[in-house]
């Protein structure tokens, strides 16, 4: 039992099959508090399925998924897991397009999620200050009153990262954060994620190797639903199996 104390996220022996196809096969991953982990791997390696399992969208057939060393995530639904402190950014940026940038953040802000506390919610000064601060961090302060639908792809990505920050999670799952971003935006995103990882655990799924290099974190390469290699980016990318299955082609 000592293996999973002092971890933020603990996956062991996790398997899930869809119609006989094993999307995740005996997967084991550990993320420590205030640690960043980058996950790479070819398409169909099970990266997004892994995130679905952690956030409660998919139930694993077997295996253990523990949060904060003690909470069994396989028994909880999406909302309960989100309220425990796990935030997720999706591969395709999903912001609420018919709401303004500000309202998107206000909804994400860590506040009681009950029906009546939401109905009678009024933003206090702290909330306004916090949202403004996040807007400055993600550089959307000038567009705060615009509909999220009018943002560019990269700005939507940033808004979603801002929503993650507003949720104030302990663990962030970030799926392809820099898709559709310019080089300088990518650089900024890496900086921001490194900053976040000082106090929180961050799991980043990404295909962009230069971005992964900038993150400078531990790297796990997944293939066919299992861990292929693990270590620093140099170690992983030097691994002959990884080269053959993922990088080389």
């Amino acid at each position: 039992m000592s293996a999973h104390t002092d971890t933020m996220l603990y996956l062991d022996g996790v398997s899930v099959a869809f119609d006989g196809f094993k999307a995740i096969n005996n997967l084991a991953i550990i993320v420590k508090p205030a640690e960043m982990l980058a996950i790479i791997g070819p398409n169909g390696a099970g990266k997004t399925t892994m995130m679905d399992i952690i956030t409660g969208k998919t139930r694993p057939d077997t295996g253990q998924v523990l949060f904060d060393g003690r909470t069994d995530l396989t028994r909880l639904d999406e909302a309960a897991i989100a309220n425990l402190g796990i935030g997720r950014k999706f591969q395709k940026p999903t912001v609420f397009e018919s709401h303004t940038v500000w309202d998107n953040l206000e909804m994400a802000l860590k506040k009681p999620r009950g029906i009546f506390s939401t109905l009678f919610y009024t933003a206090n000064d702290d909330d306004v200050a916090r949202i403004t601060e996040i807007l400055e961090t993600v550089r959307l302060i000038a567009r705060k009153d615009e509909f999220a639908a009018n943002l560019s792809h990269g700005q939507k990505q940033w808004l979603e990262i801002g929503m993650l920050l507003a949720q104030d999670p302990k663990l962030l799952l970030v799926d392809e954060p820099v898709a559709g971003m310019t080089d300088s935006e990518t650089e900024e995103t890496a900086k921001l994620l490194r900053e976040i990882a000082r106090t929180r655990s961050v799991v980043v799924v990404e295909h962009d190797m230069s971005f992964v290099r900038e993150l400078g974190s531990r790297v796990v390469c997944l293939a066919e639903g299992a861990v292929l290699a693990e270590g620093s980016l140099d170690q992983v990318s030097a691994n002959p199996v990884v080269i053959e299955r993922y990088l080389g082609r």
Partner: protein, 403 residues
Amino acid sequence: MLTQALFRALDKKAIWVIGIFLAVAVLVPMANLLIPPGQFGHVPTYLVSLMGKYLAYAILALALDLVWGYCGILSLGHGAFFALGGYAMGMYLMRQIGSRGVYGNPVLPDFMVFLNYSELPWFWLGMDNFWFAMLMVVFVPGLLAFVFGFFAFRSRVTGVYLSIITQAMTFALLLAFFRNDMGFGGNNGLTDFKDILGVSVQAQSTRATLFAATAIALAMSVLVCSMIVNSKLGKVMIAVRDAESRTRFLGYRVEYVKLFAFTVSAIMAGIAGALYVPQVGIINPSEFDPANSIEVVIWTAVGGRGTLIGPIVGAIVVNLGKSWFTTTLPELWLFALGALFVFTTLFLPKGIVGLWHQAWGRTRRRTEPAERPAPPTPAQSADIERGEDPASFGHEAQPKPAE
């Protein structure tokens, strides 16, 4: 807390709508009672009742809009909640008849005497008290919606499947209420009402009062809806409509958000039904007809869903059209209604209200060329190509169709 929520509800356009209907609640009865017939400005009593009926429909359409326009739940069974509220009111009115019925039984309504009932069924007990009947008007539709919604939303039944089971619900109730041994008057329903709160239902002053009550109830419904949709919960409802699973990952319990909207909406529909019944003088199982519920959807779509004024405008306009059509060209009414729905879906995705916004936006743009929006960015052009450019739909983003 509540005062802040009220303030939020009263800003923007809602205060105008509420003000207009409160004014109507006073002015129309005055024009009916104080201005003598034949003189300019007199509103005949039949017209007062007809308008009262339309306003009850408007409350029903507004209730549907709360779940459909704002929360993405396309209920095709809202007529059931309306009819249940109506039946609760009808039961009260039946018990006010007393011994004036054809059979002169002081307790049992005529149809029960006719069907050889020896005593009142348990669910008719207490319905002779106005306060208890009014409680049931709110409680019965609310409870049905709560139980139905609890199971449907917990099992994550969404989209067209949910629409189908709401339709099945109202159809099941239709069949049940048609049965004589249900104790609700079977095929004939409840009618021949005499008194309400000790005064004659037919009296001119009663009709004017019922109209005023309906207009006030509509104003209050707008207030409640405005309070909900302008709160953070209202934003979450729209979030549920547009991206349900994303809302879950933010930590909101989508099923409870939907359950809240559905229950509040059913209660509003029940109140609308209760106000409708004394003004038309009858409630029978045909009110549960699935076609009625679909008609409510058409009113809301024609008026403009996702707005507070849209469903009210839609309910009144379509029913005015219906009144005209069914007297002049009765056989063509259903075709006209169908054509209207197709036309609205194809050409007026935001309904009459959306059209008005568009026209208003265009004239303003013409008069103030300096304010013309900047040429669209590449991302916006892509949106325009997909028909999703919010700028071309007034100031609000175009709501997506229900999933």
